[in-house]
Structures are given as structure tokens and as C-alpha cells.
Symmetry: C2
Subunit: 275 residues, 2 copies
């Protein structure tokens, strides 16, 4: 499981404050602790913490890289912010560009732009592509799969290895009225997306969004993650500090025959994934 | 979710002792407490507790019925023991005959016999049929589905409503060497079994068997149950006293859009399912 740790995000108050104060220690501790907890990537999102988003993502990247070499996941809806981050990143460790829809209302070829940026950043630069197009986020299974198919097909046309694609099926909060059919639709979409290419594209989700504003957040995240891993989900942006969630990842891997059973399988998993 | 509570089974030492002592209180407390915890059926299995299996299952049924009217699930590999239980049961509450393979080495038409017994017991008598035939328990997905298809087809031929069938895909302990591919195969079989008839047969599993002898039993059971419910599993023989497991059932129902979200969804589920 490729876990993208979610905490270095300006939406969290401690990070917002650290950005305002240029307090490196808060950011570096989060980087080290999330790596220790099993993160494969560290998400880096300025959020609404600063007016100068480009300068801020560069400060965050440089601050993290001073202390650890865990690959980063540059998270912004603005390509210019991602591009700014890429200027200072050590892309040899790997990097994820998070994220692009297939296209936008303006018909701007935004996916193409991300492929170009990833290619410039080097062979270890990957892209999170959302099953979302100029009409917004689809509600049904078929449109999600159709957009994913178009993403995969565009990548192939451009000679961009489909294993460098992370298809994000966009999880909506289960608490939102009329959103309760979404989890089932997303699982059904995953069943099909994994067959879009051979080898398949990665699949990822912003897991915590599912339980946004809900009670029992960890429980809701855990149950859906188990369901999704059984459909082939191999990545998630998630709270790696949630030990119960990490135990579900280890157990799902066990049940999907990706880890051999031993009485200490939780410990074995956790040691194997420590940064 | 149709939960079949597993505790009244002579394999548990307290039940074994209660059977030996003809101690009604132990059995009746288990019946009441499992009902209170959310059981739809109470499994009744003599186990190896007594030589006189037929007399013992009758004593258990009568003892339980003195104190509660929760439907019973008569659990034995011997049709004569099930038949003995049926003689004293109040089948108007509903009853499950647990369980029959498609056929046996002897070519004995054992499934037909169960259909006959269920029909005699009345319209609320249902059958758990195992995806198992004279060759034993299949290891792969396709043979499981093929046996299930034959069970469904036999039921249809005999005019036995497929909604009275509970197809049990037989979960093996994940700890057993070479059994780790089984959970994935079973989930794939469930994906197909639910389309064998319209309306579909029920699907059930003996959940606790999955974690037999393993560490982290509840965690393993919970993760697999979430995966299986997302494939359409609508019943399980399980430990209803495991509150963490019951919370996963409630959350799975929420995510599969079978319960409306409210901040107190766990409590709502639990109240709705109390006997």
C-alpha cells in the first residue's frame, strides 16, 4: 500500500501557524513522524495558509528536504504552484503531482500540462489524475470509469507509462445529503479501472474526505479502506498516525495474500513500512 | 445484515459443561444476551458435548424456547440431528437448517433431503447450503460459483424459493498454509453468486473460522466482513458480543447506503437490531 501522509496541509491549524511563523520544527517533526509511521509519500499542501502559494510550497519543500528524503506529493489545484514546488524538489526520490482533472470548463488541456511537468521532473515523477472533467465530479460509476479510460488512453498516446498514473476516484463526504450512494459507485468503478491497462494504473483516494464532518471518522475510514483495498486500491492519502487504520491496511494486505501470515503480522508490516 | 449468533455451540467449554449438567441458565442467558446484542438467529450446535446428539439438540431447543422466541439455526452435519431439532422447534418464528453440501461422496442426495425437511417445517424454514460437493471444499473461485449455481438451479427445479437459500462459501482459517488465497477467491465468488437468481440467494459465512488459531482475531474478522459486505454478503455466523465487529456491520450498512447517515448511526443501528 502506497500511503500518502496527509498532515502537512495548511488546512490544519498547527501547519497554518507554522507557515505564518516560518517555524521549521513543526513541519520537520511532521515529516519525520509521518515517515516513521509508514508514509510512502508526504503530501504538501499550502492550503489557505498564505497569499504567496508558490513561495510557501517552496519553503515547505525545502524545509522538509533539510530533514528527510521521503518522496513528496505536491498538492495544489493550481499547476503554477506545483511547478514552483518542482523547481526546488529533489525529484530523484520520487514525486507525485497532485492533482489534475481530465480537462476543465475552459477546455484548457490541463492533464497534458501535468504530463509535461512530470516528464520534465524525471522518470520518478508520477501524477494523480482525478475522475473529473469539465462537467465536474460525476455521481455515477460509468462516467467515472469513462473519464478514467480517457485519462489512461491520453497517457498511452503521450507515451506516459500508465504505472506513473494514480487514478483518484474522488471520495465525497458520506454525511453530505444524497452522497450515500457514492461509496458503492466508487467501489464499482475501481472494479473496472484496474482493467483499463496492463499493468494497471495505480488507484488512490483522499480517504479522510469520506468522513469529513462525520462522527466515528476513523471507523468510517477504516471500513471503506478495507472494502476498497479488496477492489485493488493500492494507494491512499490518509492519516498515517491513525494506528487502527494502519492495522486495517496490514490486515487487508494479509487477506489479499500480499503479506504472509505470522502471529506478529501487524508488527512485521509496521517494521517493513517504516521510513 | 442477518446475524447468526455463534455462541450456543458445544465446542465452547461453558456450553459443553452446561449440556453435561443440564444447566438451563447458562444456555438461556446466552440466548437472551445474544438476542439483545443484535442476533437475527441463534445457532444451536451440540458439538462434541454429548453422545446423544439428537436428544441434546432437542434439550437445547426446548431450553432456549422457554425463554426467548429468536429464530434458531440448527447446526449439524448430520441430517438426523437437524430432523430431531425440527421435531420440537417452533418453526413459525423462522428456522435455518445449517448446513448441507450439494452432494456427498456416497452420491447421497443430501441437498434434496434438506429441501424436504425445510418444506415440512413450513414456509419460514430456510437452508444454509455450502459450496461443497462430493469432491470436498473447492479452492478456486470458479468451482465455488459452479456449485452455487447447481444449488440454486436444484432449488428452482424443486420450486424452493431461492430467497430461502443461504449460500455459504466456506471460509478457511487464514493461518493455514496455502489458505491465504482463499479470502480473495471467496470475494470473487460472491461477486458472481449474487447474480445467480433474481432476487438473489442470501450469502453467509462462518466468519470466526477465518481467524481460527490466529492472533488479532477480531481485527481479521472485521476487515474481511467489511470487504464481504461490500460484495453483497447479507448474513454471517459471527460473535455478536464483539462490539467492534457490530460497529463494522453498522458502518458497512451505512457505506452501502442501507442506513441513512446520522451522527448517532451506531446507536440507531444497534437499537434497530436489538431483539
Amino acid at each position: 500500500m502506497i500511503l500518502i501522509a496527509e498532515r502537512i496541509n495548511g488546512m490544519f491549524l498547527d501547519v497554518k501557524q507554522a507557515i505564518a511563523d516560518k517555524n521549521k520544527k513543526v513541519i520537520q517533526d511532521l515529516a519525520k513522524n509521518q515517515t516513521e509511521a509508514g508514509a510512502s509519500y508526504l503530501d504538501v499542501n499550502v492550503g489557505t495558509a498564505a497569499a504567496d502559494q508558490e513561495g510557501t510550497i517552496q519553503w515547505l519543500v525545502e524545509t522538509i528536504q533539510e530533514t528527510c528524503s521521503t518522496p513528496l506529493c505536491l498538492d495544489s489545484q493550481k499547476p503554477d504552484v506545483i511547478a514552483a514546488g518542482l523547481k526546488v524538489i529533489n525529484a530523484e526520490n520520487g514525486v507525485l503531482l497532485n492533482s489534475t482533472p481530465l480537462n476543465k470548463k475552459s477546455d484548457e488541456e490541463v492533464f497534458d500540462k501535468y504530463v509535461e511537468m512530470a516528464n520534465q521532473a524525471g522518470p520518478k515523477a508520477n501524477i494523480i489524475a482525478l475522475t473529473m472533467d469539465k462537467n465536474g465530479v460525476p455521481q455515477d460509476t460509468d462516467t467515472r470509469v469513462a473519464i478514467a479510460a480517457e485519462i489512461v488512453s491520453k497517457a498511452m498516446e503521450k507515451g506516459f507509462d500508465t504505472q506513473r498514473l494514480f487514478i483518484d476516484t474522488i471520495v465525497l463526504p458520506v454525511k453530505v445529503p444524497n452522497a450515500q450512494s457514492q461509496p458503492g459507485n466508487i467501489l464499482a468503478a475501481m472494479d473496472q479501472i484496474k482493467y483499463l491497462s496492463d499493468p494497471p494504473p495505480h488507484m488512490t483516494i483522499g480517504l479522510s474526505n469520506l468522513s469529513q464532518g462525520a462522527s466515528e471518522r476513523s471507523l468510517i475510514n477504516r471500513v471503506f479502506l478495507a472494502m476498497a483495498i479488496s477492489r485493488g486500491l493500492d494507494s491512499a492519502i490518509a492519516d498515517v498516525f491513525d494506528q487502527a487504520l494502519m492495522n486495517v491496511v496490514a490486515t487487508s494486505d494479509l487477506l489479499m495474500d500480499k503479506q504472509i501470515y505470522s502471529d506478529s503480522f501487524l508488527k512485521v508490516y509496521s517494521s517493513a513500512n517504516k521510513g
